[in-house]
């Protein structure tokens, strides 16, 4: 047997030690033949990153491939890297490989070490189960050859991950790699949460093992290079732990000044602390620093800057008060007032020019009412039926790929299928055959167009699928699926579907409906009961025979409809139940088609949404879209829709929340929004303890600025009285913002309504933002104008 046969057998058995002993005693030529066979064998094994042959393959390659470059690329091949190894297996493997390589000349080892280090990938070293073996091999080779420490990024990250911080003092790479710690971008990610490293480095600095200045300068340089907070936090922690002396802070103050405007908050705080403790800043630096800090989005930093300017004004009033000027443009009232107080306190000692500038900045600006924005609304567009068989084919093909089609699209496709199946039966069947010529089992089983297609392609198999597919106990879905099931049975038998909407809202033009019924008469067929029922429920409110509105009562959690809603002149099947009992035992499914079920009675649909919305306040389930559809539908707006809107404004997901704002604006444009009623619904939601004031404030603020200020004021006025905190109680996040929205809208609309409890909060005194905003609102409502 040749050496290669032995080695291959050992590889296939997964015996790395055997491989090592075979090749260790072989001569150079025999090893070369093994090296030639390896790539082919590796390929034939198709390892896909796992397999017991990997370790022996690595050993064989390391021992037999002649060149350093060849060994390096062999060991770092994608399919030969090892990520999941037990500690002892890992160390044994590293030992085995490095022992075999130890026979090579020093220069060769140094070269191989450098090449492996250069080929280590940062991402591999950052992974939780990482490529430690190759790092260790590179490290051993480098050290035993006495070569310079590799600085490749992957090697540095590997060093970070593989080194015990407690043993750093004796680490051979420490001095060479320490600077890289502060230069490599990925190091921040690798060190995230590694307090042990920070502690160890502090200890080394204290013991004089590493230079403090290297650490401090490294941190500052790192801050300047920028990045996200998670990449910088470790350095901020280290900097803090090193506790700089006054001189150390002063030596770096120019850099700290530059960090103030744009560094992440935590870093800016740290830099500000250093700037603050440094004496002898000149006036330009003071103004620069204050300008940067006052512009920051973090209130905490702005407040700290104001405090700093207050203190500085004692010794250098002119410079500090000039630096204070940008604060008068701040949005938050309490900060603006604080700035005014500082100015008032020190103005007397300031020079004439500064006093003049302050007077100008604090002078009441004549309220320039922003140009009124009128929300606009265009009536829902007409729905164009599918015009040709080619278009139907395209739509069906789309349904093949899009499993979660919008209800409106789905209904249009089904309607087209019904029409063409009746009028061009043979061609339609041919089209369907072409579509299902591939393997479209899924489509035929799990989509409504597919199940409907069964009626033509495989008669007799559709009903069972439809019955299975339409199981639901959620009333709107029961209603929807009952009609879909019926449609499946109607394919090829009726000329047209009665209930296909003619408007995007779901409405049907009464004339079109009459014409469709005429086609049934001509064809001599009876319409499906569910289809007819749905058609009648989709008549516009001004049509003859429109169903009266049922009474709806609701709480923030459920709506109840105090009457059964059935289309006139029809025996009527089970429509909407009055008790929403299905919650938690069923799944709402997509709700995007609900509004179009009863486009003239939106309260009913809103009431059926209510049980779900409270559970969706952190989720995006399309509730924003359905709220908007309800705003575009018809029928009175009552407690159910107002409650649903309140829930919509309370959603975390920005996209859903803006759907609710769009709905408010649409209602406003149609003159159907009653801010007072919305306020009542919001207050009721607040009573359940699940209202997030900041979300409401942002949504209402958007609506106010986009053209509904009067309604927003009324809503805020209805909500605020239940939100006032007792003295000393924690202020809900966003409450001052909500008061500011109320003030803003009071100002634009000139509202004078009283808000219960407002005067009390406004009179509490103190400089908290809550009290200041309340006082401003109170003043506005009592006729004071800014």
């Amino acid at each position: 047997m040749s050496l290669w046969d032995d080695v291959r057998e050992a590889i296939d058995k997964g015996d790395a030690n055997a491989v090592a002993s075979f090749v260790a005693n072989a001569d150079e030529d025999a090893r070369k033949t093994v090296a030639k066979e390896l790539p082919g064998h590796l390929k034939s094994l198709r390892l896909n990153g796992a397999g017991h042959q990997i370790l022996p393959l690595r050993v064989a390659g390391a021992a037999c491939i002649p060149g350093a470059a060849g060994v390096a690329s062999w060991l770092t091949r994608r399919d030969l890297r090892v990520f999941w190894l037990q500690r002892t297996t890992l160390l044994t493997h590293v030992l085995l490989v490095t022992r075999l390589l130890a026979r090579r000349p020093e220069g060769w080892q140094a070269d191989a070490g450098r090449r492996i280090a250069a080929r280590l990938r940062v991402t591999d070293q950052l992974r939780w189960s990482r490529d430690e073996a190759n790092w260790r091999i590179a490290a051993v080779l480098t050290r035993s050859a006495g070569a310079p420490t590799p600085r490749a990024e992957g090697f540095v990250i590997g060093w970070l991950q593989s080194t015990e911080p407690g043993e750093l003092a004796a680490d051979p790479f420490l001095d060479d790699l320490l600077p890289s710690l502060f230069e490599i971008t990925a190091a921040g990610r690798a060190l995230e949460g590694r307090d042990d490293w920070a502690r160890a480095l502090c200890g080394l600095a204290e013991a004089g093992r590493v230079d403090r200045a290297v650490l401090l300068d490294g941190c500052v340089r790192r801050f300047l290079l920028g990045g996200e907070l998670r990449d910088l936090r470790w350095y901020a922690d280290l900097y803090q732990a090193l506790a700089t002396t006054g001189e150390e802070a002063a030596a770096r103050v120019r850099d700290h000044l530059r960090l103030l405007p744009a560094a992440p908050g935590r870093v800016a705080e740290l830099a500000f602390a250093e700037v603050r403790r440094t004496p002898g800043l000149d006036d330009a630096d003071l103004a620069d620093a204050a300008g940067a800090l006052l512009f920051r989005p973090e209130k905490k930093l702005v407040r700290a800057a104001l405090g700093w300017l207050d203190r500085s004004a004692r010794t250098r009033p002119d410079a500090a008060l000039s630096a204070l000027l940008p604060a008068f443009g701040l949005e938050a009232l309490d900060l603006r007032e604080r700035a005014a107080a500082i100015a008032a306190k020190h103005a007397a000692r300031a020079g004439e020019a500064v006093q003049e500038a302050l007077r100008e900045a604090t002078a009441p600006v004549p309220a320039t009412a922003p140009a009124p924005v009128a929300p606009s609304w265009t009536p829902p567009a007409a729905v164009q039926p599918i015009a040709s068989l080619a278009e139907l084919e395209a739509e069906l093909m789309v349904s093949l790929h899009d499993y979660e089609q919008e209800a409106a699209v789905l209904e249009r496709t089904l309607s087209g299928l019904v029409e063409f199946a009746f009028h061009e039966r043979a061609e339609t069947i041919e089209t369907l055959r072409r579509i299902v010529s591939g393997t479209q089992r899924w489509w035929l089983d799990y989509t409504w167009p597919g199940i409907a297609a069964r009626s033509l392609l495989f008669p007799g198999t559709a009903e069972a699928r439809a019955a299975y597919f339409s199981r639901s106990s959620v009333p709107p879905n029961v209603f929807l699926y009952r009609r879909y099931t019926e449609i499946v049975g109607l394919v090829g038998k009726v000329p047209v579907l009665l209930a296909t909407p003619t408007r995007a809202s779901g409405h049907i033009d009464p004339d079109v409906l009459a014409a469709r019924r005429k086609r049934y008469e001509q064809a001599g067929v009876e319409p499906g009961p569910a289809d007819l029922e749905q058609a009648l429920l989709r008549l516009p409110r001004d049509a003859a025979g429109i169903v009266p509105d049922p009474a709806v009562v609701c709480t923030p959690y459920k709506g109840a409809i105090r009457a059964r809603i059935t289309p006139a002149g029809d025996a009527g099947g089970p429509l909407f139940t009055t008790q929403p009992m299905w919650l938690r035992i069923d799944f709402a499914g997509p709700v995007d088609g609900w509004a179009a079920l009863l486009p003239s009675h939106r309260e009913v649909i809103a009431a059926h949404l209510l049980p779900w919305l409270p559970h969706w306040f952190d989720e995006a389930n399309g509730q924003g879209g359905v709220l908007l559809a309800l705003a575009e539908a018809d029928g009175p707006v009552g407690p159910a829709l107002n409650s649903a809107l309140a829930h919509g404004l309370n959603t975390r997901e920005a996209r859903e929340r803006s759907g609710a704002v769009d709905a408010l604006l649409t209602l406003r444009a149609r003159d159907q929004l009653d801010g007072g009623d919305l306020g009542t619904a919001l207050a009721a939601l607040a009573g359940t303890g699940e209202l997030k004031v900041n979300r409401i404030a942002s949504g209402l603020g958007d609506a106010a600025r986009s053209g509904a200020p009067a309604e927003v004021f009324a809503a805020a006025a209805g909500l605020l009285p239940v939100l006032w905190p007792a003295p000393g109680e924690r202020v809900a996040t966003g409450l001052p913002d909500l008061i500011a929205v109320a003030a803003e809208t009071a100002e634009t609309t000139g509202a004078r309504a009283g808000i219960p409890g407002l005067a009390d909060v406004a009179g509490r005194g103190g400089a908290s933002r809550l009290v200041r905003e309340a006082a401003r609102l109170n003043g506005l409502l009592n006729g004071e104008r800014r």
């Binding site: 994608r78 940062v122 991402t123 950052l126 230069e183 971008t185 990925a186 340089r221 300047l224 290079l225 920028g226 120019r254 850099d255 000044l257 530059r258 960090l259 405007p261 744009a262 330009a284 620069d288 300008g291 940067a292 512009f295 989005p297 443009g329 949005e331 922003p370 140009a371 009124p372 924005v373 567009a381 015009a387 040709s388 080619a390 278009e391 084919e393 395209a394 093909m397 789309v398 093949l400 790929h401 899009d402 072409r434 995006a620 924003g624 879209g625 908007l628 997901e653 920005a654 996209r655 859903e656 803006s658 759907g659 704002v661 769009d662 942002s698 958007d702 600025r705 986009s706 053209g707």
Partner: protein, 451 residues
């Protein structure tokens, strides 16, 4: 993804870029100038009067270049491209994911010095330079030298800098195509500085699905649905590099294509006006969509003579800050439609960029292997290969045999349909598929011969 598999780009700088002693020296690599190719062109020497915003914007540009906004992970860094158009300097970069394009236009008002040459090349950006840029502040001007050998002050040992970064085809194509995609955009909204601050700081960190920025009076509101006049904002976190620039901002402008109530996600352009300069970001329609997959340009490129027209036009360009299509058409003797198509071709070949603020193309030559930049769009190439496999079964219906599968192409009322999976996934929103393109080419050729 194996980085070794994609072609690499080599940069060679005589020395690293650096900033010291109040001089910002940007080192140039091989590029094109008015006088032809040059190893290290020298574009500008003089004063940068608005140093702080320029430094901050350069850092933003570098951040875009090193970020992968979709599935973030550490990534290679491609040096920005600088173009000297005579009266202004433009610096461009393109994100690693291929979905965000950034450009800094330093206008005449912020430059006081001498233009030595017009042209395009890469400039070196390195760690020490980033650090030094972060140290720029206050009101003092900086001396700026782009490519001036004798002036560049070196940090470190001043050795020659050789870099090699992977340069995948789709990245390169996206960089070129974004110009043509945004060329049809109109201004949709302009926000004052305070409103810009409020808008950009109020953006959600992430959003599922695209948001639509709706102009409302002097502000913009984020909506969940497309309405006429709105601008699509997909992946609002991709505007993040504007945040550090806000303190210099004078206005924010948004540009986009026309939007209707049923529009799908779209690209958008956001322009932050800074003193003497503009910082521009173009965003792809979705986080996971790069610009290269958008087939918006294919309609103009399908014709046969476009390439020849483009050659003709290309020879007339002279690194103008604004390319005037009428003037160009007259000089080349082409009609307006052919000029437009030829400009699109030049755009996808990386030879013109588009400036939304000026609503005009500008001349620049992407400093990458011209053969690769000019390589035909792969979809167009596939379509040309498919033309033999097109069989018209009716005037408005064709069967295209592709990879053993029959695809049905229909032309209905000016709309096109295809039965391939790609078309079904995007429904024409990313341009025509190769089958539609092939069928269209065959049909147009037949019309031509019939005439």
């Amino acid at each position: 993804m194996a980085t070794t598999a994609s072609p690499a780009q080599g940069y060679s700088y005589p020395r690293p870029s650096g900033l010291s002693g109040g001089l910002l020296g940007l080192s140039t690599s091989g590029g094109t100038t008015l006088a032809g190719p040059k190893a290290h062109p020298h574009f500008f020497s003089g004063l940068l009067t608005e140093a702080a915003p320029a430094a901050a914007a350069l850092l933003g540009l570098a951040d875009v270049a090193r970020t992968r906004y979709f599935q973030p992970r550490p990534t290679g860094f491609r040096d920005p491209v600088v173009t000297c158009n005579g009266d202004r300097l433009r610096l461009e970069s393109f994100s690693a994911c291929g979905g965000v394009y950034a450009r800094l236009d330093v206008l005449q008002q912020a430059l006081d010095g001498e233009v030595h040459e017009r042209g395009t090349t890469n400039v070196d950006v390195n760690g020490p330079l980033r650090e030094a840029l972060a140290r720029v502040g206050g009101a003092d001007p900086l001396h700026l030298a782009v490519g001036a050998e004798e002036l560049v002050v070196t940090t470190g040992d001043g050795a020659v800098v050789e870099k090699k970064v992977p340069l995948p085809d789709r990245w390169l194509r996206g960089f070129a195509e974004v110009q043509v995609i945004t060329a049809g955009f109109d201004p949709r909204a302009e926000l004052s500085a305070p409103e810009a601050v409020r808008f950009l700081r109020g953006l959600p960190g992430r959003s599922r699905g695209p948001l639509w920025a709706v102009p409302a009076g002097q502000m913009m509101r984020l909506g969940a649905r497309p309405v006429p006049g709105a601008v699509c904002l997909a992946g609002p976190e991709r505007l993040r590099t504007m945040l550090p620039l806000l303190r210099f901002a004078k206005a924010l402008r948004a540009y986009g294509p026309p939007v209707e109530a049923r529009s799908g996600p779209m690209s958008s352009v956001w322009e932050l006006e800074l003193p003497g300069m503009r910082y521009v970001l173009a965003l792809s329609p979705e986080n996971n969509r790069g610009f290269s997959g958008e087939g918006a340009v294919l309609d103009a490129l399908a014709g046969d003579d476009v390439a020849a027209d483009a050659d003709l036009l290309g020879a007339l360009l002279a690194f103008e800050p604004r390319v005037e299509p009428d003037l160009l058409a007259e000089r080349a003797g082409l009609d307006a439609a052919r000029t437009r198509a030829a400009l699109t071709w030049l755009g996808t070949s990386g030879r013109v960029g588009f400036d939304a603020a000026e609503a005009a193309f500008f001349h620049r030559e992407l400093p990458y292997d011209p053969a690769r930049v000019a390589a035909l769009n792969p979809r167009l190439r596939s379509a040309r290969e498919l033309t033999d496999a097109v069989r018209f079964t009716a005037p408005d219906a064709a069967v295209v045999l592709s990879n053993g599968q029959e695809r049905q192409v229909r032309f209905v009322d000016g709309k096109e349909y295809c039965t391939c999976p790609w078309w079904m996934d995007y429904r024409g929103e990313r341009g025509p598929c190769k089958h539609v393109l092939a069928a269209r080419m065959v049909r147009d050729a037949e019309k031509e011969t019939a005439r």
